[in-house]
Symmetry: C2
Subunit: 357 residues, 2 copies
């Protein structure tokens, strides 16, 4: 069996702390299931690289990364060294576009042992997945500034939606919903205020819905939807959203499940023409970086999603099970990190999960 | 003393139920404080009007409304009759722009007697105000569709920010923060992803901050900010945001305080060159309209904000105090509506508040 090749990019801040933790769990899982995985680590897509080279990526990054089956990514962004829009557009947002990872899949699940900030919520009450459009929409680089420095100064930025771009992510979301027991899809819109692109989104949702009549479909304006995530998280099963709305919902959703620290995400090219990328939802977290207390669960759960994508569903399920088991011990019986109300370190929690595997 | 004139627009759905409730409380307050307020009710800005006339507003609406000191508004939107983007752009969003109500002020406060969906939160833990830009930004009508009906179909919509538009709302927000004990302002951004308009917003925030060095300033990306509203609502004092981000935060914030039903908003033209408009944050709520169970508190609280704006701070504080007193009785001792875990009707709750006044 030839090894599957994985490009590892720790990036910035706590990315450099949780990626080793994630690799430990992945290696343990690979051992147990006799999988052959090869890891190569790269230092680009980081503020350190920027300081040395003045760019976020080497010129041949695309060719380099194309040689890999997938990309295991930490976090990028270190605003005291390089402005966020420069570092992100110079790395992660490039990867998503150039590798046409048009689906960003983000599960939100309240895990046993994890305390929700929402009153009275138990595991099972919150279990949905956000399907985020990942290549177009509100994240565009079209626009600019006129009448600079004067009272008339005006800044423009274009949101761009295409039929191809919208339809393909909607189809993916409907298919996800069809595979789940509840067969329920919620679409995030704001067609009452964002009067051109959002009515178009709604129109395509309605058209795609015709092909998925077995999926129950509803839609909420994004403002009301964020409110319902807090008031009625149990209403949701699969939630599909534009790039920006998906970004918001996939931070808010994990917050409702206790901490952003456990949330994974998969940036997927479903056709597998390009490598997919797996990264936790949290960022580089300058406020806690270097302290060794970052929660590695999001990064480890990413490993499970990556194994699934690489064609190892049993290994993926086993790793996720190990995470669930260790979390379920709770902060008194497992070295959970401070965001999980424990006193454990990144390394201790990662060891516990790797051992459980 | 000449009477102050108020244009009353109930609009659609529960707007028609809560506006009479709000007027009852306003009349009781006016009586008590010897204020002379004149109310004229209009049927436009509603689906009924649309069905009769094919437009949301009469041609002379602007001239008509300019004759008033302020506008007391219910809710507009009835998508089964007229698409939301048509009804909203044909009424409320016009009012905001034509009357240059560039500040949308939305207090979020956990009231005694009201149960927060957030675990362990008490009154006092959540008490902030969202200052939303209300005339430009993501809510623009510039854009369109090309290659219609083909695979290349592409839809564009421009976000437009101006120095004048951004600076004036920022100045208002900093001034609000300066007047509050904590002197703390949080700016919502997304400059890592929305790479042109949002870095501009940040730049203007930093520039304005120079003039308000006594105000503690921080900023969060909108995704992280929605998460922190749930995890740490006690962190916030004044939150300033673009039109879209402010829309989202001012639904999520009130949801964290128990229900959208109690949240008021003031669409203000601070220079008083044009009438300001007061409306609850909730919409027309087709799901509960006609049942007489809509929560009138948001609409009544709007009345308090309007009295303040009209130069009656004592009356405004008294009305707000009456709301607080009745809510504090809790669902067992006051006719609170179902969203407040009670069994009261709109009319019963309104009566209780009016009597308390
Ligand atoms: C109805 C809608 C257009 C409106 C808005 O988005 O501004 C509403 O949600 C609000 O917050 O006042
Ligand atoms: C860092 C940032 C550009 C990114 C995004 O907005 O997509 C992040 O928030 C995410 O959700 O992956």
């Amino acid at each position: 069996m030839t090894a599957q090749r994985i490009a590892v990019i720790p990036g910035d801040g706590i990315g450099k702390e949780v990626v080793p933790a994630g690799l430990e769990a992945l290696r343990a899982t690979a051992d147990r299931f006799g999988l052959s995985l090869d890891f190569d680590t790269f230092d680009f897509a980081s503020a350190d690289y920027w300081q040395k080279h003045g760019t976020m990526l080497p010129p041949d990054w695309e060719q380099t990364l194309r040689a890999y089956d997938s990309i295991y990514f930490g976090a990028v962004g270190w605003p005291s060294v390089v402005p966020d829009h420069v570092s992100l557009w110079g790395s992660l947002l490039q990867f998503r576009r150039v590798f046409d990872q048009y689906v960003n899949l983000r599960p939100c699940r309240l895990m046993p042992g994890v305390r929700s900030p929402l009153a009275g919520r138990e595991p099972g009450d919150i279990d949905f997945v956000v399907v985020r459009e990942n290549t177009e929409g509100e994240y565009s680089s079209v626009g600019g500034r006129v009448f600079e420095g004067t009272d008339r100064e005006t800044v423009l930025q274009e949101t761009v939606m295409t039929r191809i771009g919208v339809d393909r992510v909607l189809r993916f979301a409907f298919e996800q919903a069809r595979r789940r027991p509840k067969r329920h899809l919620t679409s995030a819109t704001k067609s009452n205020g964002i009067s051109i692109t959002m009515p178009y989104w709604d129109e395509r949702v309605a058209a795609m819905g015709e092909q998925f009549r077995d999926v129950r479909l509803d839609r909420f304006h994004i403002d009301a939807l964020t409110a319902q995530f807090v008031l009625h998280p149990e209403w949701f099963d699969v939630v599909v959203a534009s790039n920006l709305f998906g970004d918001i919902l996939s931070d808010l959703g994990p917050a409702c499940t206790g901490t952003l620290g456990i949330a994974p995400s998969a940036n997927i090219n479903p056709e597998r023409d390009h490598p997919s990328l797996f990264e936790p939802v949290h960022g580089s977290a300058p406020d806690i970086a270097g302290k060794g207390i970052a929660n590695p669960v999001g990064q480890i759960w990413c490993g499970s999603m990556m194994l699934e994508h690489l064609g190892h569903p049993e290994a993926a399920a086993h790793l996720l099970g190990a995470i669930e088991d260790v979390l379920a011990y709770g902060p008194d019986h497992a070295p959970l990190t401070p965001d999980l109300h424990g006193t454990g370190t990144t390394a201790e929690l990662a060891d516990a999960i790797a051992q459980r595997v």
